[in-house]
């Protein structure tokens, strides 16, 4: 089976390399049969990847431990579902999954659903196949999922118990769907730059926009699942630690958010079109760069520059793509392409919004790579603690939040005197004062949230008074409401949390915040591949018992590891979060880490609203296929 998988990868490399040549030559010489051949080899590449992915799945399920990937990520006692998800448990498998999805999307967008636009599609396919070739080379020569181990172990190491969680099973593929789908707007960009005739590029713009919407939705869900998993599984009571892995998914999300706003106001041959292209390219290359960064440990290692091996190919790829785009745009400029000036105040606000999002991504980028940069100006390597990110992203994040409130009004009326524009100014000053003088970032955020909430309500009321809002408008409002709720959750859980490490004897009681906790005893249970020890904790409010929680520690036999399984009392007002950190069986003594996290669930509710809202927007644009909206209708 591994021979088949390996062979399919090598064949896929040849096919995608051939497809580039066939497509480019076909466009150059205008030869239909070459274009058809390029299209078919792209489909062939997809088949090869399907075969390798299925082969790897078969190996994982069968437990063929001669293959080191299987030995490292699967084991005999692993539940079937986690054997299947082990496909993306390691670097090589997840690269394979990403490439598989990406080629699949490209085939859908530029081969199946668009049979007639041969020349434009051929250029787009060539761009994505170039990326595919790099991925294939890394997969074959460096991160080979089918590599054999020198000794065949009798059982595999199993999936890291921390990763045996539904959120973690779904988190990587969700992100990869997002990353892979961003290849469509990216391919659209390169293909549009290549062709002088813009009619086909215009025709494909809705596709590029819809794929961006889809990609953004998946990226949002992926990031939220990762955060939720960290909160549920890691037991430190937080959901976001600003580590390079997390940042590398947040940066493309930010640029993609700007991309969607540009798509809303897109006009061909204007500044907005240029922004759209730069953001599409930026988002996709950030996805690739993030993978390079985290997979090859560029920033996580302490001292010596880690040898990235063939991972450096990702870095080369990113540079190559930008150079390519630069050359193509210069070429277009030489051919005399000029930008049409934009009319309408809406565009100014759009560009401010773009800059804020891009700069936010930039400061995160600098912070993430700081340990790496610091080698060049300091003898002592320096890293930034995570509060750097909180401090630096706060002003940008809060400014963006404020814009959510006032932008729809500014777009409709411009900068005129009203409670909304003056209010925004006042709230901005108040928030800055609260932050600097009272040192409470959370309170500053909540003040802005209250103002933005009032604005959202005012927008909806006004709109309903004027005319019935369409699904697209409503969808966008729901997304923004989701963002607002997430900010409320972040401020509440970040600014007003209580954390306590406590030691408890059986029968003993402690008070944390407004909760009383009593340790009632230990119980032991056996699961499918682990043994769990739980502590029974009674939760009191005043004198009345309101809940019973049982945080536990699970011991996994195959990997000989122990994980903490938290237990959480969830309410609209916040969570009471208990993690069992130590158990002394003889002394009936336990160590608990207790967190009181106000409002935290609004982050998850907000995320769900963002997804529902985007789904509504996608549904609306797919049903109507409208031309780009007239400027009066543009509201955020």
């Amino acid at each position: 089976m591994w021979e088949l998988g390996r062979f399919a990868l090598r064949l896929g490399l040849c096919l995608s390399a051939y497809a580039i040549l066939a497509d480019l030559l076909g466009v150059w010489r205008n030869r239909q049969e070459l274009l058809r051949s390029g299209r078919n080899s792209t489909i062939g590449t997809l088949l090869c990847l399907t075969v390798s992915a299925v082969a790897l799945w078969v190996l994982l399920v069968r437990g063929d431990f001669a293959v080191s990937y299987v030995a490292e990520h699967s084991s005999r006692d692993l539940p079937l579902v986690y054997k299947l998800t082990a496909l993306w448990a390691g670097a090589s498998g997840s690269l394979l999954l990403w490439l598989w999805l990406q080629v699949g999307f490209v085939v859908l967008a530029f081969a199946v659903w668009a049979r007639r636009r041969d020349r434009f599609c051929a250029n787009a396919r060539a761009a994505t196949n170039l990326v595919a070739v790099f991925f294939f080379v890394v997969l074959i020569f460096d991160k080979d999922p089918f590599a054999l181990s020198t000794v065949t172990p009798s059982d595999g190491a199993g999936l890291n118990p921390l990763l045996q969680h539904p959120a973690m099973a779904l988190h990587p593929p969700t992100l990869f769907v997002g990353y892979a789908a961003f290849s469509i707007p990216f391919a659209w960009t390169l293909a549009s730059l290549r062709r002088k005739d813009l009619s086909e590029s215009e025709l494909f713009f809705p596709a590029a926009r819809n794929w961006s919407l889809l990609a953004w939705t998946f990226l949002t869900v992926g990031i939220a699942l990762g955060a939720w998993w960290a909160y549920e599984e890691l037991g430190w009571g937080g959901y976001w630690a600003w580590d390079p892995v997390e940042n590398s998914s947040l940066m493309p999300w930010l640029t993609a958010t700007a991309l969607l706003h540009c798509a809303r106001m897109y006009r061909a041959q204007t500044k907005i079109a240029v922004w759209f292209m730069i953001l599409a390219l930026g988002t996709f290359t950030l996805c690739i760069f993030g993978t390079f960064l985290t997979r090859y440990g560029l920033v996580s290692s302490v001292h010596a520059f880690p040898d990235p091996g063939l991972g450096i190919l990702f870095f080369i790829l990113v540079i190559l793509l930008w150079v390519l785009a630069g050359v193509l745009s210069l070429n277009r400029l030489r051919q005399g392409a000029v930008l049409t000036p934009l009319r309408g105040r809406g565009f100014t606000f759009l560009i401010v919004n773009n800059w804020l999002l891009v700069l936010l991504a930039f400061v995160i980028f600098v912070g993430t790579l700081f340990p790496f940069f610091s080698r060049y100006f300091s003898d002592e390597p320096i890293s930034l603690k995570s509060d750097y990110f909180t401090k630096i992203t706060a002003p940008f994040g809060l400014a963006l939040l404020l814009l959510i409130g006032v932008c729809p009004y500014l777009l409709r009326r411009g900068l005129v005197k009203s409670w909304r524009t003056l209010g925004a100014g006042a709230v901005a000053v108040a928030a800055a004062a609260i932050w600097w003088l009272a040192h409470s970032l959370a309170l500053a955020c909540l003040v802005i949230c209250a103002f933005v909430g009032a604005n959202l309500v005012a927008d909806v009321v006004l709109r309903f008074q004027q005319r019935r809002p369409d699904a697209r408008w409503l969808g966008a409002r729901i997304v923004h409401l989701g963002v607002l709720l997430a900010f409320i959750g972040i401020a509440g859980s970040g600014g007003y949390d209580i954390e306590k490490d406590i030691a408890l004897r059986q029968g003993q009681e402690v008070t944390v915040g407004s909760f009383g906790l009593r340790f009632d005893g230990l119980t032991t249970e056996r699961g499918p591949n682990f043994t769990a020890t739980s502590a029974k904790i009674s939760v009191f409010k005043g004198q009345t018992k309101i809940d019973g929680l049982s945080p536990s520690r699970a011991f996994y036999e195959s990997s000989r590891r122990e994980t903490s399984e938290v237990d959480v009392r969830r309410t609209w007002a916040g969570d009471l979060y208990l993690a069992l950190t130590q158990v002394d069986r003889g002394g009936r003594l336990i160590n608990l880490t207790v967190h009181v996290k106000p409002l935290i669930n609004w982050i998850w509710i907000g995320t769900i609203l963002m997804v529902v809202g985007t789904a509504l927007v996608i549904f609306a644009v797919l049903r109507k296929r409208p031309a780009t909206a007239p400027i009066e209708e543009l509201e955020a």
């Binding site: 890291n160 890691l234 985290t294 700069l359 890293s383 930034l384 509060d387 630096i392 003594l589 160590n591």
Partner: protein, 132 residues
């Protein structure tokens, strides 16, 4: 471009760039943390030890001691030559074991014990699945 537009652009760049630069500098200054291995840290002169440090090393086998009464974990952080006793209060990552590479953040107390306020385990290869 007209002269007025250029001046406007320049002023814009200076104001915005300066603002961001200032913010970044402010934020960095307070979260600056020197990143050392245990060996280098022990070799450094004691005057430099007043800052907040981030140290990387290995958990020496047989030195992990847990004081459940005081919710404190202590262990010896070992480099290739030097060793340093560490005390930590807080959540211990699930994959913290003997011989694991770990990173601690904190300060050196007068007693010569490193008081850590964060404890992170370095990712083993399997942890790579945490793709984000």
């Amino acid at each position: 471009m007209r002269k007025g537009a250029i001046i406007k652009l320049l002023i814009g760049i200076i104001v915005i760039g300066g603002g961001i630069g200032y913010f970044m500098f402010q934020a960095m200054q307070s979260s600056w943390s020197y990143y050392y291995s245990v060996d280098e840290f022990s070799a450094a002169d004691s005057a430099a030890r007043e800052h907040s440090y981030r140290l990387a090393g290995r958990v020496k086998a047989g030195t992990i001691a847990r004081d459940l009464e005081n919710v404190t974990l202590s262990f010896t952080l070992a480099g290739s030559e030097a060793e340093l006793p560490v005390q930590y209060q807080g959540v211990v990552p699930d994959n913290f074991t003997e011989d694991r590479e770990v990173v601690v953040e904190g300060r050196l107390a007068a007693s010569g014990v490193f008081q850590a306020d964060t404890l992170m385990t370095k990712c083993e290869s399997k942890y790579q699945a945490k793709v984000k």
